[in-house]
Amino acid sequence: MSNLPDIILSNKSKIKFAMSLCARCSMCAPSCFLYRANNGDPTYMPSYKMLNSIGLIFKKKGNLSDNDLENIKNIVWEKCVLCTRCYCSLGIDIPYLISLARDFCRQKGVYKTYDN
């Protein structure tokens, strides 16, 4: 059963397309300042963040465990600031796709709080 909100469904072809196109080449890695600032920790790589947030949401059709949601929350708020500086050699719009994962999380009541 698909459990995806409209914002994801209306972007379905774009998400599916990016997941199947991404050549997993890691060329985007050094274009993210957070990847560089964290000594090349691969979990800060734009493609990793895209594939493991919106990619996972899409693959599991929105049926995510609490643990998955926690991981995605960490990726899309702690590991990416949506500064849109990343560069994909194949022209994939990574920040837009990560922002969709944020939308999904908000709809599930999962978001970053700044008061503690």
């Binding site: 972007n11 072809s13 774009k14 397309f17 199947s20 196109l21 991404c22 050549a23 997993r24 080449c25 890691s26 060329m27 890695a29 050094p30 274009s31 090349g40 691969p42 979990t43 790589m45 493609s47 990793y48 594939l51 500086r85 560069y87 050699s89 194949l90 022209g91 994939i92 719009d93």
Partner: protein, 227 residues
């Protein structure tokens, strides 16, 4: 065995070419159906004048610099040069291979230009070395390994097995006939798979980078957005 050879050499080769070209056309149509030219809102009162727009943007040389610094030519110059060489060879070799063009001549009577067999043999060896290098990256570099999945291995083998078997057949390292048959089968399989697997980047690299609106659109001419 000879029957299988004739099947792969004749009808299946033709079918694979048709599926390949048809698949490419299908993907191009799909792309234009799923994107549209971005509409710029027409309320001139709110839009800055041409002169004002010019003053917003940094001078040309700074624009060039930031573009250069963000691109892979600056962040990973060595890998970018290597992968460019790989891509040129991976495309040129089969197209200008004498063995392939002789078959084309026999089938359709046209004789495309060929490089000498010595040169294409060296190209083949270089491509196979790149195969080893990409394999090394996929297995040992954590930034590549962490995102590698089944589809990436599929792409890897679809690309490099035709090269390996072509090489082995040319040098008759193992028994020739089974090797050529295997090579033809894998080569045709690869052609058929290009439009529908990760290898479709061959089509979408150009569509995305030339037609989609983005900071890194070639010549800044891209004006399409996704529906």
């Amino acid at each position: 065995m000879h029957q299988l050879y004739l099947l792969l050499r004749g009808p299946l080769a033709l079918i694979s070419f048709i599926v390949f070209i048809g698949g490419v056309i299908y993907q191009i149509i799909w792309f234009f159906n799923n994107t549209k030219v971005q509409e710029i809102p027409k309320n001139p009162g709110l839009l800055p004048s041409k002169k004002e727009i010019k003053s917003f943007y940094p001078p040309e040389d700074i624009k060039k610099l930031t573009k250069w610094e963000g691109s892979v030519w600056s962040t990973q110059p060595y890998f970018t040069i290597l992968t460019s060489i790989f891509h040129i060879l991976v495309i040129l070799t089969p197209i200008f291979l004498l063995a392939h063009n002789i078959l084309i001549k026999q089938s359709w009577g046209i004789a495309p230009p060929s490089l000498s067999e010595k040169i294409t043999d060296v190209f083949t060896i270089v491509v196979l070395c790149f195969g080893a290098y990409f394999l090394y990256r996929r297995i040992f570099l954590s930034k590549v390994r962490i995102i590698t999945g089944g589809g990436d291995w599929l792409m890897f083998f679809l690309v490099f097995l035709p090269y390996l078997t072509g090489f082995l057949a040319y040098h008759q390292i193992f028994s020739y006939m089974p090797m050529v048959i295997l090579h033809m089968f894998l080569g045709e399989l690869m052609l058929v798979c290009i439009p529908f697997t990760r290898l479709k980047h061959m089509i979408f690299f150009f569509l995305n980078r030339f037609y989609l609106k983005s900071e890194y659109s070639f010549f800044k001419k891209g004006n399409r957005v996704w529906n």
